[in-house]
Symmetry: C2
Subunit: 329 residues, 2 copies
């Protein structure tokens, strides 16, 4: 065992054999395989474990919702149109009311995004609840947004507003002082995120690269930059902050916690994407049409590295650590 | 909690909302969705938990092999051509030699059946090893073998020889007396099954219905009969028995154990299929060409129910129970 080996290193080392031409393997939001000329299937899978990805007392409805939503978010980051999904469900016992509520939550997303549950696997687990979800969508081969497609000079954008999911998660986990009003205002961002399917589909004609912010803005953007061989500068003041977190901007001692939430908070499922400046106006129009905030927060640079300028214009020296399931904290 | 509710009841009750036209939802070996005229994608997912689906001291190479093989077997039962797969891997710690061996086993199947690993998800688990595998294949829409397509008058066939996996599993689990020579001769059937991909593809032009024997011959055949609205008769003497089990046919007191293994033993991954008698000769030729035994073992009947005639021609009154992950044994 090597505690310093991150999950990404692990995947890269043992599970990255070449895939045939026309396919996209691990490392993007979705894998892609070609099924007909001009048409690819985008697919993504998530493994979710009780005690690690969700709390044992989570409302099964919100768990069902989120389980599918986070995978739809991967389709959104590829600009894909959902086709269907599969569900693996490991349960220690059959609690019918739990299953019914979970199914209700799951189907809210399946039905809202035309992503019917096509099949799956059910088994009794020995320890806690285990979920695996796989989604499929179709994409026009010429319009996919790929993680390695960012170009120097691109603007970097995010959808929605950042920070709420992380703030809620840390209060629930006891890592931050409980503030009932703040939890109430942020909990939905954590538990019932909205995948940006329509935005992803619309962006595919304009954006170069896209990723959904599941591990944290800096980490996810770093994946794009690394794959694209670029660097970036971000402007902290430009990053849209969830309205419920506005008081933290001026509360004594809260800035570090807010910065952590904005720059490193995961579980967010907004899109971070890069696009040429010539697409700026079109992207503004798209955001307005879909009623989804879209905000430019920085630029892709030829020089490698990721520099974040703080509200007074200085480069932040000590960027917060991002989330890594395997790294010992 | 309702201990008498089987996993199949559970799935049927909460996760069987209708799927759009042209798709096949849960209940077949694979789900199907249409991606182009005449072309469908077949997909299947499995959730495998340490302590339930495999033993904690299993050789990681054989675990990697089997994890993909059992999913390829679902593609085989649809007559699909493998395209690729996804892997979810939950590990309590990162043991690099374990991961390397697991990957080696997994890739033997990925490479043997042209089913590249396209992506996945890796996470640290709190309790034991969790695996989820999803496979994709393409099928010609007009040639898929469907679970509901058996017709009265069809012959019922199985590929390969039955019983070895169950005999090995019970010895390893301590449910049957250990016989080192017998374990040695049967262990490969349990740990490194061969998915019948080429046979499934070839059968698609001839067979009506097919299923892979993962839960046990009687249970899996019952799924076909139930979905097709038919019954069947089977001839126990016709069912091909694994060569290593031949001594059990005459050993004192071993017949019940053998019958259990043949009729109800799961984890087998041979194909059970039905085809019109007019296809009999063609199927014999296919088996010879592929060097895979194919054996007719009974007939589909219009009358419902499943009757197995024993070696003396009497209907077996007390058929062995089949495997059900959720049923309390």
């Amino acid at each position: 065992m090597n505690a310093a080996l991150s999950e990404f290193d692990l995947i890269a080392r043992y599970f990255k054999r070449a895939v045939p031409g026309g396919m996209v393997g691990g490392g993007d939001d979705c894998a892609l395989f070609t099924v007909a000329p001009g048409m690819q299937v985008a697919t993504s899978t998530d493994l979710l474990l009780e005690g690690r990805h969700f709390f044992s007392d989570v409302d099964p409805f919100t768990l069902g919702h989120k389980t599918l939503a986070v995978n739809l978010s991967d389709l959104a980051a590829m600009g894909a149109t959902p086709v269907g999904c599969l569900l693996g469900l490991g349960l220690p016992t059959i609690d019918e009311s739990w299953v019914a509520r979970f199914a209700e939550g799951f189907y809210t997303q399946a039905e809202a995004f035309n992503c019917p549950l096509l099949g799956g696997d059910t088994t009794r687990s020995l320890h806690g609840i285990t979920l695996s979800v796989t989604v499929f969508g179709t994409v026009n081969s010429s319009l996919t947004m790929r993680r390695n497609a960012a170009q120097a000079g691109d603007e970097i954008w995010v959808s929605g507003e950042l920070g709420a999911a992380d703030i809620a998660c840390r209060m629930i986990a006891g890592q931050a002082p409980m503030d009932a009003a703040l939890l109430k205002a942020t909990r939905a961002a954590l538990e019932t995120p909205t995948p940006r399917i329509a935005l992803g589909q619309a962006l595919a004609a304009h954006a170069h690269a896209a990723i959904d912010i599941s591990d944290g803005l800096l980490q996810d953007l770093s994946h794009v930059l690394h794959a694209s061989g670029c660097g970036a500068t971000l402007d902290e003041a430009a990053i849209p902050v969830h309205p419920a977190l506005q008081p933290l901007l001026t509360a004594p001692g809260a800035q570090a916690r807010l910065r952590q939430a904005i720059l490193a908070g995961g579980d967010l499922y907004e899109l971070c994407f890069t696009a040429p400046v010539t697409a700026h106006a079109a992207i503004r129009v798209l955001g307005a049409q879909l009623n989804i905030p879209v905000t430019p927060i920085g630029m892709v640079t030829q020089a490698p590295g990721l520099v974040v300028y703080d509200r007074s214009g200085h480069a932040i020296a000590d960027l917060p650590a991002c989330f890594d399931h395997f790294r010992t904290k």
